[in-house]
Symmetry: C2
């Protein structure tokens, strides 16, 4: 079995891996400098890819990208404040030209779901939704053992931007009251600024206002942190019910950095789902992910394999 | 080409048709008496089906049912206050036993979408969502030229029960702030009861509190009706954006009885979608339906055809 060079292009860090059969034989992390665009990253990646290609015969490259992707061409559909030049760069052409290798690219939440499906918490499932709770909220959907894409690509992939609060905050996407606008790390400063009693909160002293700080302060009884936590738990729960009602999965996986507080989040979301989701087709399991930060790197190998087996830039997950 | 006997089982009225190539050769309407169950309806239907079968060689029966359906067995997954005995009745077995004919059954919004797709406003489209605004809110989804179902059946079919208002009304489905709970004919009495100034509203005199009355009173400047209209338009618009973000379609069709006020509803929803939906894959059209009340009857012929061609009780829409 040949190894696949996999790349998880985050907004802050870029992870590289040499994956074979779900095992990472080598790994490396780079600063993304995503505010300077994608071209500069590709220049820094090229020698690293070549070095790995000298050591092992590569089957291809798999790339997880933090945006919506057009499935037939691998084109990045939009830049969301990072890698602004990405929509103009043809990644598959770059890989063919530079390394003579096929490149598969898809949204990072989708790659993570493929990883969890093949090697992690969604193994053996055919209908599953993954939610990554972090700076933003990513969603990916597997139905009938295939990634849901639709003809235009983003089907099943934009669930963090379902309105849960009609009278809520305007989101960076342009919509109102998206889950991402109502409870994500990016939204936290704005949420905190609107929280009553914030001036007496320990969070004003926190070196970094993230959900780890919020959950820690809430555990100490901090009133503003408790209010933020209650609001956020409710948003993530309503989002989970919306995804269950939209896609009728048997499994919802919650991952991402915020899930370091899974001990509080999972029981709350499970209880909310048990009370409010209508699932006459059977019970829906809500679980944490199993592969942590490696899910997308490992999923890129699956993506690359599926593309080579079934064609198309994005490939399709076989049942 | 053989004709198909098609049945649209509403909660109040049941429509029968003899459909051939998208034309209704005969039609009949019965009172549903759905509060007395499905078995009594099947008894009244049987002689009508037999009479039609004597006059024409039938290809099969197609049934549109107001509930979620399990695709492999044709089983009704839940009763929603009508046809309470339906989950225990095997409709395909009934048709085989009584008439020796194959029966295809699916949710009524799905049948309407199949009708619009083959003969109406979604002709030539591959990715389309239908919303029926009426007593409840029905949703059906076509992706890549196939009805979205998932392994368990309800994928793409339960969009009226996406939360749009986290702090909203409890829905009959058990969820909070579903579009159906926030703006449907069934929700109207409760919505009106909570509207400030209702005691001075002409709606207190309306023979029937439905959206036709609300839109008429709003056009006359009635303050409570204007508030109800503004809230409802916003709910339906947020629902439309949610469905666009969930399924990435190229077309959203709005149908159902409430769309008799399409002249007000369509421009509002289109403007909201233009301002708030994020669709980097291309423009999404929002339109009214073309087949009106006949969509489900005509779609049942398509459903029956697809089942016979492709197998399965529910059939699959070929691209």
């Amino acid at each position: 079995m040949q190894a696949t060079l996999t790349v998880d292009m985050g907004g802050t860090r870029v992870k590289l891996g040499l994956a074979r059969g779900g095992v990472l034989l080598w790994r490396e992390t780079l600063e993304a400098r995503s505010e300077r665009g994608l071209a500069q990253l590709l220049e820094r990646l090229a020698p690293l890819v070549r070095a790995q290609a000298r050591g092992a015969e590569l089957a291809g490259l798999g790339v997880a990208f933090p945006s919506l992707i057009e499935p037939r061409t691998g084109r990045v559909l939009a830049a969301y404040g990072k890698y602004a030049d990405a929509p103009g760069i043809d990644l598959p052409a770059w890989a063919r030209r530079e390394f003579g290798l096929p490149l598969a690219v898809d949204n990072d939440a989708r790659c993570a779901l493929l990883g969890e499906w093949r090697y992690g918490a969604a193994r053996g499932r055919h209908d599953a939704v993954l939610v990554t709770l972090g700076t933003g909220i990513g969603v990916a959907t597997l139905l009938d053992g295939q990634l849901l894409r639709g003809r235009h690509g983003p089907a099943g992939n934009f669930g963090g931007h379902l309105t849960v609060n009609l009278h809520g905050q305007r989101c960076t996407c342009g919509n109102i009251g998206c889950a991402e606008a109502e409870a994500s790390t990016a939204a936290l400063p704005r949420l905190f600024a609107a929280t009553p009693g914030r001036e007496h909160s320990a969070l004003t002293m926190a070196p970094r206002l993230d959900y780890a700080a919020v959950f820690a302060a809430a555990a100490d009884g901090d009133a503003a942190a408790l209010a933020l936590r209650a609001h956020s738990l409710r948003v993530w729960s309503a989002l989970t019910v919306n995804l269950i009602h939209a896609y009728a999965p048997e499994l919802v996986l919650l991952g991402g950095g915020i899930m370091r507080s899974a001990a509080v989040i999972l029981p709350y979301v499970r209880d909310y789902v048990a009370r409010h989701a209508h699932t006459p087709w059977g019970e829906v399991t809500v679980s944490g992910t199993a592969l942590g930060d490696d899910a997308a790197l490992l999923g890129c190998e699956v993506l690359s394999f599926l593309q080579r087996e079934h064609g198309g830039i994005g490939g399709a997950a076989a049942g």
